[in-house]
Symmetry: D2
Subunit: 356 residues, 4 copies
C-alpha cells in the first residue's frame, strides 16, 4: 500500500502534515499529483473559523493543476502523464441538481464541493478526482500551471459573480472587495460588457491589478460610506449591478443602497460572522424595487475549465496577475497557507510550484 | 370649475370625504369616472401605518375600471364613453427606467405608482390617468367591470410573483399567504407550469379559492413551522420556487429553509414592520446555494392589462372568485375600505360598483 | 445466453420480428421489460423514408414504460421489479454538450437519441437503458403505464415546443399541426401562460382533444391560407408565438407570416421532404423583425420524466386523451406500428399494453 | 418659412440635392443640425436596389451627431445648442411593441426606423427627431462627433448581433462579414465574453481593425468553404455562436454548418437578393439540433446611445477605427455616399464633419 503525505487540518485550529494511504481510484476517476497549488481563504475559514465544522486529519486545498498518475478503467479522455486543470468543484453530473442546471449543488446544497470538505483536498502528493472525463480539463501547452491554478476557484467564482450580475452591454458595475475573487469579478465584469466599473478596496497591489483588469474607478471605503461615494460619482443614479466579493454583513445595506431600481446584486462572498444577512427594507423599495439578489457556488467541471482556459489562451483574462508570492516544493504549501492566514498587505495569491 | 368629491386620507390615521376641483386633462391624458373600485391593503398601510409618510387630503384608491369622461387632444385610441381597465401602475414609458425594462420604476424607484401616492387616487367621481394611449386598456364586453378591477393590481402583482419565481414546467411551488395577492399568485403559478402547488393559509374562503385556482396542498401555519411541513411533504427536497405574498419578517427565514438549492424566492409582499429583512445565512448556503431572491412592483400599462384581460376572456383565470363583498354606489367606498381595515375572516376582496 | 424477440426494421422499407441475444447490462445501466409501448411517426420515417439511413435488424421503438429486469452493480436508485418511465432520449450526462446545457445533443448532434437509432429500441421483450439512475424515473402508482408512455417523447417534445416558444403570460399562440406532438404542444402552451390559442388542424378526434387541452380557436387549413386566417382573427396583429408541429416546408413561410414582430417560432417537427427549409425574406423583415426561430430535440433524462409525471399526478395535463387505439400483448406492436403507418383518420396514438 | 437643402433620393436610382421647408418641431420633438454624418450601406440599398420601394425627394441618411436647433415645449432635458447623438432608430416608446420589449418594431415591423424611410433623413441642414427626451443622448465632451456617429447604427447593430448570439463567457464565435457592422459585431463579441473569435473577410483594412477589435483568427473565404475552415480549426467542433453580418443567401447554409448543436445564429445582415432564406435541413439537424436563429433591428433610443457612449468613454470600444475616409462640409455628403456606393477596397466608413 503506497503511503503519501499531505498538509491537513488536524482538527479545529490545528494544521500539520499527515501520512495517508494513497486513495483508491474509482472506475471513472483519476489520481493526480500536483504541479501547482494555491491556498484559498476558505481553507483559513475551514481551519480557524470552523466554517464547515470540525474535521480530523483532512488534507486541505482545492485549487490545483496536476499531472495524472492513474486513471480508472472507464476513463476515456485522459491517461497517466496528462497535465490537467482541476476545478475546485467536481460535480456529480448525473445527479438531479445537475439535470436541473445547478451542477455545483449536486447530491446536497454545495455538494459539488468535495475537496477539503467531504474528502481529502489537493495539498498532498496525490489526490483523488471523481469523474475524470467530466471534471478534468487538459492544460493547454501555452498556459503555465501556476496561472491555470487561478482558474480552479478564483476565476470561476469571480466570473460567475459577473455572470449572475446579469451585466448588460454598457452597464455600470460595482465590485465590493478586491481580494483575489473580487479581482476576478472585476475581470469578469470587464469581459461581459461593463462600461464604468467601480472597484472598492484600498490595498495598493490589489488596486493596481483592479485597474489592469478593467476597473475605471477605485472607491476607498476609508473615505466615506461606499454607497454614498458611488451615488455621488453617478449623479445619484447608482449602478446597474453590484458584486459582493468581500466585506461583512454591513456591506449588504450598502450594496442595496448603491443599486438602481432594476439592478442586480450578485453575491460571491462566503458569508460568515453573523446568523442573519440584513437587507435594508426601505432602500430595497420595501421589497418592490426590482433589485434582485443572485447567488451561487463556483461552477466546476470540465467545460467550465476549458472555457476559462480558452479565455487565457486568447488573451481575454490574465490570471497570473493575481499571483504575488511564489513558492517551490510541496512542503512549502504550509508557508503559503500561513501567508494566506496572516494576509500581509501585499498579498493577493500565493502559489506553490511542484516539480513534475 | 367643476368640483367633485372623493374619499381621501385627510392625514395620517384619518380618512374622510373631500371636495376637489376636477383635474385638468393633459394633452395625452384622460379623465375617467369609475365603474368599479376596490380598496387594497396598501390603502390601509398608507393611512394607518404611514407606509408612504404623511399626505394631506389625498384621494385614496388605485384599483379601478372606469368610463372615459375626457381625453387630451393627443390621445388617439380612446374617446369619452369608452370603458377602460385602469392599471394601478401607470408608467412614464419614455423614461430611462422603462427603456431599461423596468417600467414600474420610472422617474424614481416605485415611481410608476402614482395613484394615491403622488397624486389623487381613483376613489372619486373623477380621476386623472397619465398617458391614456399607453396606460389604459379597453374593457372587453365579455368582462364585468368588477372582475376587471381585480386585474389593476391584484392579478398583475400576483402573476408577476409567479413570473419572477421563474417557474419551469413541472416545478413545485409554495405561495406563502393567500390573501388576494397570494391567491392571484397561486393562479399565476398554475398557468405558468407549476405541478405541485402549496398554498400557505388558513381562512376557509381563501383556502377554497386557492384550490379553485390550482393549489394542490394547503399548509396551515398553525400546525407547525411551514418550512418543516413543506420539507416533510416533499421528502426533504423542498420546492423549486417560493412566492412570498404575506406573513412578516419571520417569513423570510422560513421561505429560505423550504427552498431547494437552485430555487427562486419571489417577493410580492409590501414589506413593513421592521427595518431589516433577515436572510438566514446558513440555510441560504452562506450565500452560495443558488437561491436567488427576485422582487418587483406590479407591472402596469396598457399591454399588461390587455394580456391579463385576454387571460380572462379565454378562461385561463377567474378573478371574480376573489370578490367576497359587493357594494353599490361611490359613497360605499368608505364601507369597503373600512371592511379592508377590519379584515373580517370571510373577506377576500370587496368591490364597489358605480352606475354609468 | 438468453434469446429474446423484438419487432425490427430489417432493412429500408421492411419490418419483421427478429430474435436477438439479451443485451448485456453495463455497470450503471438497466435491462427493462416493457409494460406499455407506443409507436411514433419517426419509426415510420425511419423504416419507410430512410430518415436516418439504412439499418439492419434494428429493433424499433422509443416510447415505453417498463419494469426493471436487471440493473448494473453501480445503479443505486432502482432494482428489479421497479416500474419505470423510459424517456425516448437518454443523454450522456457527463458529456460536454450536457455541461453546456444541451443534454439531447450529447456525443454528437441528436446523440441523446439512442433507441432505434444507434441501438435496439424498446419494441422487444427486453431493452437496454444507459445510465439507469440518471435516465429512468419511477412510475408513480397513480399513473397508468399507458398514460405515462405518452410522456417519453410526445409530451416531452410538445411541451418543449411551448417552452422554446418563450410564451409570456397572456401571449397569443398558434400550434400548426395537431397530431400527438402538436396536441402536446397545445397542452404545453396552455399550462405555460397562453391566452388565445389557435390550433391548426382538421381531424375531428384531434380537434376535440385540442379543445380539451386548451385550444380556443381551431383553424382549418382547407378554408384558406392559415396565416391569413390567423391575421384576420387577430385584427391583423398576428400571434406572439408559433409552434410548428406538422405540415411541410410550405408551412414555414406561413408560420413567419402569422408571427408578430418580436414573436418566436418554435419548431418541433422532424423536418423531411426537401433539402432546404425556406424562410420568406420579406415577411421575416429582411432578417430584422425580431422573429427568432428556436429548435430542439425532445428533452430526456430522469428529472424531465419526473417533472412530466408530476404534471400528470397534479392534474395539469391529461396524456391519456391522446390514446385512441389500444392493443394487448407485445406481438400487437406490429399492428400498432402499421396503424401508425396507415394513419386512419381517427388515429391519434395507439398504445400496446404488455402484462407484467 | 425657412428653406434648407439636403441630399436626397430623388427617385429610384437617382440622387441629388433638394430644397425643402424646415420641418415643424412637434411638442416633444427636436430640430437638429448635423455635426457629423455617415452614409450607410442601406442608403445604397434604398436608392439603387429599391430595398424599401420608391421614394420621391426623400432626404437620405440615418447616422448623425448634431447640435440642437429647436425643441418643442414639452421637451425637458435638451435645449438649443446641446450636442447630441442621434440614433438611427427612434422608437415610439409608448407603443405596444415597445411595451412588449421590441422598441425597434413600434407601430409596425421595423417601424422604429424613420429617418430616410418614412421621413426625411439626416443628410440636410436640419432634421427632425421625434421624442427628443426619449431618443437623443447628450454627446459626452470626451467623444468626438465623428466617433459618436459610428454609434447611431453601426455599433448599435453590431453589438446587438453579439447580444443576440447569446455569447457565454468563453464561447467561440464566428462573425461572417467584416464591413463596418461586422467589425462592430467583432468588438461586441469581444466585450461580451468570447474567447476564440473568428472573423471572415479579406480586405486588409478590415482585417486589421478586426484584429484590433478582438478577432483571434481571420478566415479568408477565398481559401475554401468557410464552414470547413472553421470546423477544421476547431477540431470538428464548430462554434458556439455565428453572427451573420454580410455575405449572401449562400452564407446561411455555411453558417448552420459551422454551428455546434446548441449554438445560436444571429443575423444582422439586411437580407436582399432572393425571396427565400435557405436553411439547410440536414445540417440543421432536421430542425432538432438546438441551433436557434435570432434576429433584430438596430436598437435605438436614448438609453442605448448613452450606454454605447459610456463604452467609448471608458475605453471598451473604439468606434473611430472604423473611419477610413473623412470629409468636411455638408456638401461632401454626396461624395461620401458615392464612395459607399463604389466601395473601394480600402473603405470601411466615411464620415462628413460639419462646422458648428
Amino acid at each position: 500500500m503506497t503511503k503519501f503525505t499531505g498538509f491537513a487540518m488536524k482538527r479545529l485550529n490545528e494544521v500539520g502534515w499527515v501520512e495517508k494511504e494513497k486513495p483508491e481510484c474509482g472506475r471513472r476517476d483519476a489520481i493526480v499529483k500536483p504541479l501547482a497549488l494555491s491556498p484559498c481563504t476558505s481553507d483559513i475559514h475551514t481551519v480557524w473559523e470552523g466554517a464547515i465544522g470540525d474535521r480530523k486529519d483532512m488534507i486541505l486545498g482545492h485549487e490545483a493543476v496536476g499531472i495524472i498518475d492513474e486513471v480508472g478503467p472507464d476513463v476515456k479522455d485522459f491517461k497517466p502523464g496528462d497535465k490537467v486543470i482541476v476545478p475546485a468543484i467536481t460535480p456529480d453530473w448525473e445527479d438531479e441538481a445537475a439535470q436541473r442546471g445547478y451542477s455545483s449543488q449536486t447530491t446536497e446544497p454545495l455538494g459539488g464541493w468535495k475537496f477539503s470538505n467531504f474528502k481529502d483536498g489537493v495539498f498532498g502528493e496525490y489526490f483523488h478526482v471523481n469523474l475524470a472525463d467530466a471534471n478534468l480539463a487538459k492544460l493547454p501547452e501555452s498556459i503555465e500551471p501556476e496561472t491555470a491554478a487561478m482558474l480552479s476557484d478564483m476565476f470561476s467564482t469571480g466570473i460567475m459573480g459577473a455572470e449572475n450580475a446579469k451585466i448588460k452591454v454598457g452597464s455600470t458595475v460595482a465590485v465590493i472587495g478586491i481580494g483575489p475573487v473580487g479581482l476576478s469579478a472585476v475581470a469578469g465584469a470587464a469581459i461581459l460588457g461593463a462600461s464604468r466599473l467601480f472597484a472598492v478596496g484600498t490595498r495598493p497591489n490589489c488596486v493596481d491589478v483592479a485597474k489592469k483588469y478593467g476597473a475605471t474607478d477605485i472607491i476607498n471605503y476609508k473615505e466615506g460610506p461606499i454607497d454614498e461615494q458611488i451615488r455621488d460619482a453617478t449623479d445619484g443614479a447608482g449602478v446597474d449591478a453590484v458584486i459582493i466579493a468581500g466585506g461583512n454583513m454591513d456591506t449588504w445595506p450598502q450594496a442595496v443602497k448603491m443599486a438602481k431600481a432594476g439592478s442586480k446584486i450578485s453575491n460571491i462572498n462566503y458569508l460568515s460572522g453573523a446568523d442573519v444577512v440584513p437587507l435594508p427594507r426601505e432602500a430595497w423599495g420595501c421589497g418592490m424595487a426590482n433589485i434582485d439578489i443572485n447567488t451561487g457556488l463556483c461552477p466546476g467541471g470540465r467545460v467550465r475549465m476549458e472555457r476559462l482556459a480558452s479565455l487565457v489562451e486568447y488573451g481575454r483574462i490574465k490570471p497570473e496577475l493575481l499571483i504575488t508570492h511564489r513558492f517551490k516544493g510541496l512542503e512549502k504549501v504550509e508557508d503559503a497557507l500561513m501567508l494566506m492566514k496572516d494576509k500581509p498587505r501585499d498579498l493577493i495569491k500565493p502559489v506553490v510550484s511542484i516539480k513534475e
